[in-house]
C-alpha cells in the first residue's frame, strides 16, 4: 500500500497585495533579510505568510510549507541572509527569465536561525498540521553562491553543508525536510565532486529527525550523479516527471531507488491547471513503470518552486495536488 502525500517544493508567489505593499515599503533591494523586526514590512510578510498557510490547509495538502515569501533571491536566500557573504552580481536563476543576487562567501558561514524563526511562525499559525521545511540542498546552494573563501569546490560544498546543518538544528519539530537540488541536474557536479554530494546531503539530513527528501528538477540526473546520490541516507529522492520521464525511469530501474520517492507531476511553471485525474494517472503510471519496487510513500508535488506562477494559479494547483492524492489509496 503506497501512501500518497500531497505537497509542494515551497517558495510561493507573494500574494498580489503584498507584492505592491512590500515593494513600496522595502524599496527595491530590501535588506539582508527583508521584513526583519516589527515594522510594516514585517507585518505585511506575516499577513502574507498566514495567507499562504491558510491556502494550503484549506486545499487539504498533507504537508504545509512556510512559503518562503521573504526569499527574494530564491534558493540562494539562506546564504544571502548570512553575515559571511557580500552581495555579488545579479545572475540568471537557472535557465529561467529570473534573476538573483549571487551571495559572495567571504568568511565561514554561520547559521542565522532565520529559517527556523520562519518555521516557528508557521508552526504557531497552523498548530498541529504536519509542517515541511524547505531548503536548498548543499550542492545547489554552493552552486548558486560565489566562493571567495575556500577556493576548493569540495571544501566549499562541505562548508555549505555544515552551514545548512546548523540551520536545520535550530528548526522546530517538522515532519519533513525538502532539500531542493536543481543544480544537480542543471549544472551537474564534475568528477570527484559528484562523489562528495551524498556526504554533504547526509551532513544536513543527520541534523534532523524529520523525513528528508532530496528533490532534483528540470530534467533527469546524469547517470553517475544519480548513482552517487543513491549513497545518501535519506527517506526519499525526488524526480521532476513533468520535464523528463525516460531517463529518470532508466536511472531508477538501473540503480534502484529509495523506498519512498517524490514525484513532480504538476507543472510548476505553466498556468495550465491539470485535472486531478490526470495527475493521479501520472502517479499510477510511474508506479507501473517501476515494477521491481512498491513505494512506501510517494510525495506528489509540483515540479518546481511555485513563485513562477500567478498567485491564483498557484492556489488552484494546490487544490489539484490535494484532490489527486485524496481518494483511493494506490
Amino acid at each position: 500500500m503506497t501512501e500518497l502525500v500531497a505537497t509542494t517544493p515551497g517558495l510561493f508567489p507573494l500574494p498580489d497585495w503584498a507584492k505592491t505593499e512590500v515593494a513600496d515599503r522595502a524599496g527595491s533591494g530590501g535588506g539582508r533579510h527583508p521584513g526583519d523586526g516589527r515594522g510594516a514590512v514585517a507585518e505585511a510578510y506575516g499577513r502574507a505568510r498566514r495567507e499562504v498557510l491558510d491556502d494550503q490547509v484549506e486545499a487539504g495538502l498533507d504537508r504545509i510549507v512556510e512559503g518562503q515569501l521573504r526569499w527574494t533571491d530564491m534558493l540562494a536566500h539562506p546564504l544571502v541572509a548570512s553575515d559571511a557573504t557580500e552581495r555579488g552580481d545579479v545572475r540568471r536563476y537557472y535557465e529561467n527569465n529570473n534573476f538573483y543576487r549571487a551571495p559572495r562567501v567571504v568568511a565561514e558561514p554561520t547559521p542565522t536561525g532565520a529559517v527556523a524563526e520562519e518555521l516557528r511562525a508557521a508552526r504557531d499559525h497552523v498548530g498541529d498540521a504536519p509542517l515541511q521545511a524547505v531548503l536548498p540542498g548543499p550542492y545547489s546552494l554552493s552552486d548558486l553562491a560565489i566562493d571567495d573563501r575556500y577556493g576548493d569546490p569540495a571544501e566549499f560544498l562541505a562548508a555549505v553543508a555544515e552551514f545548512l546543518a546548523g540551520e536545520v538544528e535550530r528548526f522546530p519539530e517538522v515532519e519533513t525536510l525538502f532539500l531542493l537540488e536543481p543544480s544537480l541536474v542543471v549544472n551537474p557536479p564534475g568528477d570527484d565532486l559528484d562523489a562528495r554530494v551524498p556526504e554533504a546531503v547526509d551532513v544536513v539530513a543527520d541534523a534532523t529527525d524529520a523525513d528528508v527528501v532530496v528533490y532534483a528538477y528540470w530534467g533527469a540526473l546524469e547517470e553517475k550523479v544519480y548513482a552517487h546520490l543513491m549513497d545518501a541516507t535519506v527517506e526519499a529522492l525526488g524526480f521532476d516527471f513533468v520535464t523528463e520521464q525516460d531517463r529518470t525511469l532508466y536511472n531508477v530501474t538501473e540503480y534502484g531507488t529509495t523506498d519512498a520517492i517524490a514525484a513532480g507531476v504538476v507543472d510548476g511553471q505553466n498556468t495550465r491547471v491539470e485535472d486531478p485525474e490526470t495527475v493521479r494517472e501520472r502517479v499510477d503510471w510511474i508506479d507501473e513503470r517501476v515494477p521491481a519496487q512498491e513505494f512506501d510513500r510517494v510525495y506528489v508535488t509540483a515540479s518546481t518552486e511555485l513563485f513562477y506562477l500567478p498567485t491564483t494559479i498557484a492556489r488552484e494547483k494546490l487544490g489539484v495536488l490535494a484532490a489527486a492524492t485524496g481518494e483511493v489509496e494506490a
Partner: protein, 354 residues
C-alpha cells in the same frame, strides 16, 4: 534583397559626407517623468483614456524630436506606449490571457501572459503607433517588434505542443502587422529576440519564424534583427542564412570581445553595431565612440555598417540617453569624414589601443 541596397533611402538629403553610416536606435527610450504621473492618474481614475492617449502622443512626439535633435538618420517613438515587450503584443493578439503578475527578480514583476487558445490576429495595432510617429517626425521611423520566439518563450503556453509551433503562429500574425506597416509607409522594422540569447541552439526555430515574418514584404522594407547579449558564436554562421538585412548586436558592453565571431566566416547581413553601452549611466566621449565605430569596420565595409546603442536605453537617466545619442551621431559623422578623406585603412581600421 540585401541590406546594403535598401539603406540609401535613409541617407538624409543634407548628409554632409560621401560615406554614410546609418545611425539608428534599438528601441526603448526613457519616458519623460511626467508620463509616469499621467499613468498613475489614469490608474486612479483621475485621467480618462483620452487624456492618457494624449499624454502618450505627447511623449512619443517628444522622444522622436529628441532623436532628431541628436541627429539620428532614423528615429523612433521610444516605445513610450509599451510597458513591457511581451505584454504589449499579448494584449493585442487574441488567445492570450493575463492571470496576474509574476516575479522577475527581487520585487520586480511582469504581467506574463498565458496562451489559453490558439492565437489569432485582431485589428492591427502597430500601425497606429507607427502612423503617429511618422506624422510628427521628419526622419524615417524605425519600428521595433518583439519577435515571435521571445513571445513564445516568455509566455505560459497552455495550448501548443512546442515553442516552435506557437512561435510560428505568432510569426504569421506579426507578418500581417508588418505588411500593414509597409502599406502605411514604414521602411525599417527590427525584430527583437532576446530570448534567443539564453537558448542559442534554438536558432533554427528563429530562422523559420523570420521566413514567415518577412513573407510578401516590399524590397524597400529594411529588416533588422536584434539579439542583445549572449554567446553570438553559437548563432553564427546560422544568422547568415536568415532573411534579414541587418544583424544588430550588443558588443560595446563587452568591449568588442566577441567581434572576431563575425570575421570568420564573414557576416553576410549588414552589421548593426552597438557603440554605446545601454547599461552604463555615463555618456561616452565622441572619441571613445569613434573608436567603437571603427571596430565595426573590422567586420564589414562602411556601406554595410549601421551604428546604434547596444540595446534600448529605457533604464538610463534621460539626459544620459540624449547625450549618448548625440555623441553617437557626431562620432559616426566624424568616421565618415575620415573615410572620405582616406584617413582610415580598411585593412586595419581599429588599431589596438595602447
Amino acid at each position: 534583397m540585401t541590406g546594403a541596397e535598401n539603406r540609401e533611402q535613409f541617407r538624409p538629403a543634407d548628409h554632409p559626407n560621401d560615406h554614410f553610416l546609418l545611425t539608428t536606435v534599438v528601441g526603448s527610450y526613457p519616458r519623460p517623468t511626467w508620463l509616469a504621473r499621467a499613468r498613475e492618474l489614469a490608474e486612479e481614475g483621475e485621467f480618462s483614456a483620452d487624456d492618457l492617449a494624449e499624454a502618450h502622443d505627447d511623449a512619443a512626439g517628444l522622444v522622436a524630436r529628441e532623436h532628431e535633435e541628436a541627429g539620428l538618420d532614423t528615429v523612433s517613438d521610444g516605445e513610450v506606449r509599451r510597458d513591457e515587450m511581451v505584454e504589449h503584443v499579448a494584449a493585442n493578439v487574441d488567445g492570450f490571457e493575463f492571470y496576474g503578475p509574476v516575479k522577475v527578480w527581487d520585487h520586480n514583476y511582469i504581467k506574463k501572459p498565458s496562451v489559453v487558445r490558439e492565437v489569432s490576429g485582431g485589428d492591427p495595432w502597430l500601425v497606429d503607433e507607427y502612423a503617429f510617429a511618422r506624422d510628427v517626425a521628419s526622419r524615417p521611423v524605425k519600428v521595433s517588434i518583439t519577435g515571435p520566439y521571445t513571445l513564445a518563450r516568455w509566455s505560459f503556453d497552455e495550448v501548443y505542443d512546442s515553442d516552435a509551433a506557437l512561435a510560428a503562429d505568432l510569426a504569421d500574425i506579426l507578418n500581417a502587422e508588418v505588411r500593414a506597416l509597409a502599406a502605411a509607409g514604414a521602411r525599417y522594422v527590427q525584430f527583437d529576440e532576446p530570448a534567443l540569447a539564453a537558448e542559442p541552439d534554438d536558432h533554427p526555430v528563429v530562422g523559420e519564424c523570420l521566413d514567415r515574418l518577412v513573407a510578401d514584404l516590399p524590397d524597400e522594407m529594411r529588416v533588422s534583427f536584434h539579439v542583445c547579449y549572449g554567446d553570438y558564436g553559437r548563432l553564427q554562421p546560422a544568422v547568415n542564412d536568415f532573411p534579414i538585412d541587418e544583424f544588430d548586436v550588443e558588443l560595446c558592453n563587452d568591449d568588442y570581445e566577441q567581434l572576431p565571431t563575425f570575421e570568420d566566416p564573414p557576416l553576410e547581413p549588414d552589421l548593426g553595431l552597438g557603440v554605446v553601452d545601454a547599461h552604463a549611466a555615463r555618456v561616452e566621449s565622441v572619441a571613445e565612440i569613434e573608436a567603437n565605430v571603427r571596430q565595426g569596420l573590422r567586420v564589414v565595409p562602411p556601406e554595410k555598417l549601421t551604428v546604434s546603442p547596444d540595446c534600448g536605453l529605457k533604464l538610463l537617466p534621460r539626459d544620459v540617453a540624449r547625450g549618448k545619442l548625440a555623441n553617437l551621431v557626431t562620432a559616426a559623422r566624424n568616421v565618415e569624414a575620415a573615410l572620405d578623406a582616406g584617413e582610415i585603412d580598411l585593412d586595419d581600421p581599429a588599431p589596438a589601443a595602447d
